[in-house]
Symmetry: C3
Subunit: 215 residues, 3 copies
């Protein structure tokens, strides 16, 4: 989803795992719509790589990462295909995938902030945080649009909010010129804990329910 210096091997490894996990859960969503194998592959790629793609298109940051590293396409398409064989296993490992997805959310958010800084170090904080949020969340929105659902992101769960908090915390630290590696680790732990606690205790944003006929 982005290029990291060689030292960030841990984050890079986590992001590969997260890409795989997102492609696999997208494949399950495809299976619920009875898509064919080609559709499963495409939905896996679009979901896993769509967030970074939308961020780069909006920021005018070319070439896109998957154009530069086509192996990401092969990885996510392969993961989606493999899911067809092991759908039962993936479904049963639901909790494991929620954790992997949470890791992805946090890692992609940090990566999105990094890319925004790389493009222009003078970008305002709001845009850096939004770039992180788009990277972390927009893939799932594309998946839901293609599955003909109202995006889950807009309806439930602390997902975008976790991404925003993570991005804000991450960006603030770098603005204060704190120790990079320590701050990265701290952000990762904070964001992941927030997301997992939100899942565990079913924290939700209040909903805005508007019924035009009720008075």
């Amino acid at each position: 989803m982005w290029s990291l210096p060689a030292s960030d091997v841990v984050l890079y490894g986590l992001s590969l795992v997260a890409l795989t996990a997102q492609a696999m859960t997208a494949a399950l969503a495809a299976g619920k719509r009875s898509m064919d194998w080609a559709g499963v592959c495409m939905l896996g790629c679009i979901t896993a790589l769509g967030g970074g793609t939308i961020r780069d298109v909006l920021l005018g940051h070319y070439p896109l990462v998957w154009v530069q590293h086509p192996s990401y396409l092969l990885l996510t398409a392969g993961a989606a295909l493999a899911t067809i064989l092991i759908a039962r296993v993936v479904h049963r490992l639901n909790t494991a995938f929620l954790v992997l997805d949470a890791i992805g959310l946090v890692v992609f958010t940090m990566a999105g902030c990094d890319v925004a800084w790389q493009i222009d170090p003078s970008l305002p904080l709001v845009i850096v945080v939004v770039a992180g949020m788009i990277t972390g969340c927009a893939g799932g929105v594309l998946r839901d649009i293609l599955c003909n659902d109202v995006p889950l992101l807009f309806r439930a769960e602390l997902y975008a909010s976790v991404s925003i908090v993570t991005g804000l915390f991450y960006s603030t630290g770098f603005g204060l010129k704190l120790n990079d590696e320590l701050w990265t680790a701290l952000t990762f732990v904070l964001g992941l804990s927030f997301r997992l606690l939100a899942i565990r205790y079913k924290w939700e944003m209040p909903k805005f329910v508007f019924d035009e006929n009720r008075r």
Copy 2:
């Protein structure tokens, strides 16, 4: 949605009002789908700023306006959030919002044409008009896609048509090197009247109804 010279203070003010109004009506649409507060904010931003964003991405015009002026994001997100508190009021002021939305349609259309000229003064008339129409109309299409509806734009009302007529009239005048400010004012009055008359008298395009089983 674009940058105006300081003299165009009136148009600029109107466009801020229109951005706010579009974010607020999008928030009501979010409420009808029971989205949570984060979803309401996001739908407000995407609807109000989406038209200009799509135009700029299609024309390769970077940086996007909201990247350069993040205050637009805060304005539209704030307007959407405020709508949660005053949903009843917004709903009752339906007519006022139709007028504000009509002002937005006309002002955004003119702004879209302006941006197309700024990018390349030799762009053909068709593209200038299309750039105006995308700026005025595409935000609502994104809103309907995210709410899982067939876009209202394609089904009903003289909305795109008002935008096209406004853009054609506006562009023709500038092609003829008429007085800029007079022509802008004239276009605004014409476009707004057309849209309001269309609402008042329920003018509609003929529909194309095709039923493959009927013979």
Copy 3:
């Protein structure tokens, strides 16, 4: 959908026919949703030109073809409008339109590969094939999203697969420095035959059906 050297007159002519055919079938889809005339025009343009547009936005290849050649917009909008008058005829000529659409799929795929090479001759094979597939297939995905359907591309028919096979065959030949014109003709015949046989004998990809409640 792209610019061809003058010698490729046959391909260019075929692509115009295919653009027209895609706009016309999109207009029928619009009619099934009772869209108004403006909506029919817009859906025709978006379906016929959307694949090339998405490809160019993803590859950062500006200006877009329809910005450079607005006559494509007029052609597709006109074809969509004409369909309103002759809907019965278009519907009855279903088989003819399937053939025209298949020609479009193959021609657009080859054109997409060509554009990818023009942008950067060192692009990896995967990206060239993906660029071809997006050009051939993404317009129909946009059409289905705007009609509020799960994209047909993901659910049925050998459509994306034909595009991938065509792109692979086409790219391999050029990698091997074979005779250009011969190879283009050969690819065209192969891709078209594959697609028509797939329609005739109802070849389909296996589907991935996942029901989370079944055990």
